[in-house]
Symmetry: C2
Subunit: 421 residues, 2 copies
């Protein structure tokens, strides 16, 4: 495949094409969009060998550059993984189409009729890292909600992504959705990504998905509005009145079930009374699951195997089998710590004390708060939203797991008969 440099590529003209296509797409019926997604799913399955061949190129490049194993695993496709992509598209077909919904309507005393309807945002700019599944997932959610999409994936997966988009384009030719509704920026040049940041006239929202560095680069430099997703420094607070079994099983689930995801726990905050009574069980359970501890001084006194937590550890997404541990005198101290270091993603309290639980739910500022449950549930699928485009950690527009409605806005439609003020 030939890649383009940022001089050869014209991101703005791609965005303009996407905007034109979005106009046509927004007028299609739910049935027409569903039919198109089904054709895309079929096409991806039919062309899985072509995709695997392109993936081989990326894997070979990755091996040459000595990428680490977990990274190579995320990059690597199999027939089954490609079939999972198409299964994902078929699931999006089943989701309710939010566009066209009448959100509210009323008639003013003067007879002017007011109707608020849900409409697509227009053009979504998706900036993401290695996982090629985002190419398919984001395209499916965008098209179903009537939006065009401009895709800028990570360099390490560029051959795979390019071929996936080629297959999508072939598929779209058999549908009512214009090919231009899916734009792929075929460049590994960072300058191409930067061009996306300021195309406010043509792109309605940027959604970065990936690590903190990527997300911060977009937030700090984009004038296009951004939907921030995913950085999760999640805490489990084990209160004085926590049930031991619930506390330990939730802690282990939140830390070890999938340590690399954003809803995994990174810090456990323990009430000193509970800690004194249960330190042995806590330690042996963490040991059994291979979790190493970075603790405050109090922790080190009781758990000699722990290492001393530095300031930066309280803010760290370890994304592996390490946990920070802090001992507190009371729930207020726990909430203050979360206020200071949390990323407003998911926070849990384990307690049998209803007053403590309600204080936590009321005063902690985050998208998702849990009482006696694991932070791992913050996920569109697990909470019953269907597929998600990401998990918002911001407060405006959408908070928490974002399904199709997060990709829409509204219009007020007023009908009069010569009404003036």
């Amino acid at each position: 495949m030939t890649l383009l440099t940022s001089n050869e590529i014209n991101v703005e003209s791609q965005a303009i094409q996407a905007k034109k296509a979005a106009k046509i797409l927004s007028a299609l019926t739910t049935e027409e969009k569903n039919e198109a997604l089904t054709i895309l799913a079929d096409k991806l399955e039919a062309e899985y060998k072509t995709i695997l061949k392109a993936n081989e190129l990326d894997l070979a490049n990755g091996r040459e550059q000595n990428f680490e194993e977990a990274f190579m695993d995320r990059l690597s496709l199999t027939k089954e993984r490609i079939y999972d992509f198409s299964k994902g598209l078929r699931e999006v077909v089943e989701l309710e189409d939010p566009t066209g919904d009448v959100l509210s309507n009323w008639t003013l005393e003067n007879g002017l009729k007011v109707e608020q309807v849900r409409v697509p945002l227009g053009v979504i700019g998706m900036i993401y890292e290695a996982r090629p599944n985002v190419t398919v997932d984001a395209t499916g959610l965008a098209l179903k909600s009537g939006n065009a999409i401009v895709l800028k994936g990570g360099s390490s997966a560029i051959n795979t992504n390019k071929v996936i988009v080629d297959v999508i384009h072939q598929g779209l030719e058999e549908t009512k959705i214009p090919k231009d509704a899916v734009q792929f920026i075929a460049s590994t040049d960072r300058a191409a990504t930067k061009q996306l940041f300021t195309l406010k006239e043509h792109i309605d929202v940027l959604i970065p998905r990936g690590g903190g560095a990527l997300i911060n680069a977009v937030v700090n430099n984009a004038t296009v509005p951004v939907l921030e997703t995913g950085v999760g420094n999640c805490h489990i607070y084990i209160d004085r009145a926590a049930d031991v079994n619930k506390a330990l099983s939730i802690l282990i689930n939140a830390k070890t079930d999938r340590p690399a995801v954003c809803n995994a726990a990174e810090t456990v905050i323990v009430h000193e009374d509970w800690f004194e009574s249960n330190v042995a069980a806590l330690l042996s359970t963490l040991n059994d699951h291979g979790v190493s501890i970075r603790g405050d001084k109090r922790v080190l006194d009781e758990i000699p195997g722990a290492t001393l937590a530095e300031e930066k550890d309280w803010a760290e997404e370890f994304l592996g089998l390490t946990i920070a541990m802090k001992i507190v005198k009371n729930i207020d101290e726990a909430i203050e710590h979360i206020d200071q270091y949390g990323t407003k993603h998911s926070e849990a309290i384990i307690t049998e004390d209803k007053v403590a639980a309600s204080t936590f739910m009321k005063h902690v500022d985050a998208a998702a708060l849990y009482h006696n449950a694991s932070t791992r549930f913050t996920d569109g699928g697990a909470l019953g939203f269907g597929a998600e485009i990401g998990i918002s950690t911001q407060k405006l527009h959408a908070r928490g797991p974002m399904g199709l409605p997060a990709l829409t806005t509204c219009k007020y439609l007023m009908t009069g008969d010569g009404h003036i003020r």
Copy 2:
């Protein structure tokens, strides 16, 4: 009054104080907040003379700097205007408190209970120009929705605003709302405004209110999320099938009722057939109301008194008795023009043709679309929303007139009994 320079002022520490106060404020009941707003209204009325005295200083400065009359009028207060402020606060007392509303709730198959509740955003940063009423209006809406506010008003009104906030602070001492929930940046230094742009840790949203230059400066430089408000380049499209009386009365209302506001019309687009039949009536009506025309070549052929519109006139907010006029062959050309030059605020079609109306409503991308009614209705009060914090011209979070719900976000609260994934 002594003003501070940007070296003496610490905007960040004010924002931190606001954030702390927001925690306390967010836990107050609706009754406690209403009681506080009533006390503030009483206090403003009791202290109207103090406020007028401060206003005299700003007016004297304004005269010295030869500000134009309309500007001086916006700046100048009277007893009646101050009583209008307090009346506004009493109206906010009557509005429903959106916080605490349960937006949705469900129970997963595994028994985990999910509840989505509406909560305050936290801290609102308000950046605005001359009108001192914004100081009171924005404070009322912020406090009612449980948010702290950081106010940065225009330099020309700084003495007035400072004294208004002093009065508010005196009033707050008699209430449960901490004084620190209302912060005033007592500096005319632009560097102080710029400090607000990046205080992402402490300020949840910035709302600029004023002219296009102010709004663009905030949008282009802030890393704090922005709610864009108010720049309105609104169009009236007079279709081939427009009723003459409706067309002329709506056009005059939209252009001349209050030409300086954002929902006033700036361009009229006229179908060529209607234009040919009605040019005389159109011209005489505009003349009668003192409206001057900047038209395309076609207009100039028929209306010799018009001046030729330059490219920039199509994008101009005249905010006075000037209108741009373009003749089109069909509705598609009208929609294309609006796409190119509109600001996605308010757009109207005048027609008796239902198909044309529905095409316009479907394909024009704006917050508010009108069929046979004036764009002047895009206003929280006129549409029945109650007081508004501004009119959003963006698509994310809130679109169109923004009432109290636009100042809130949500939290997902999950209650389990040891639930793990």
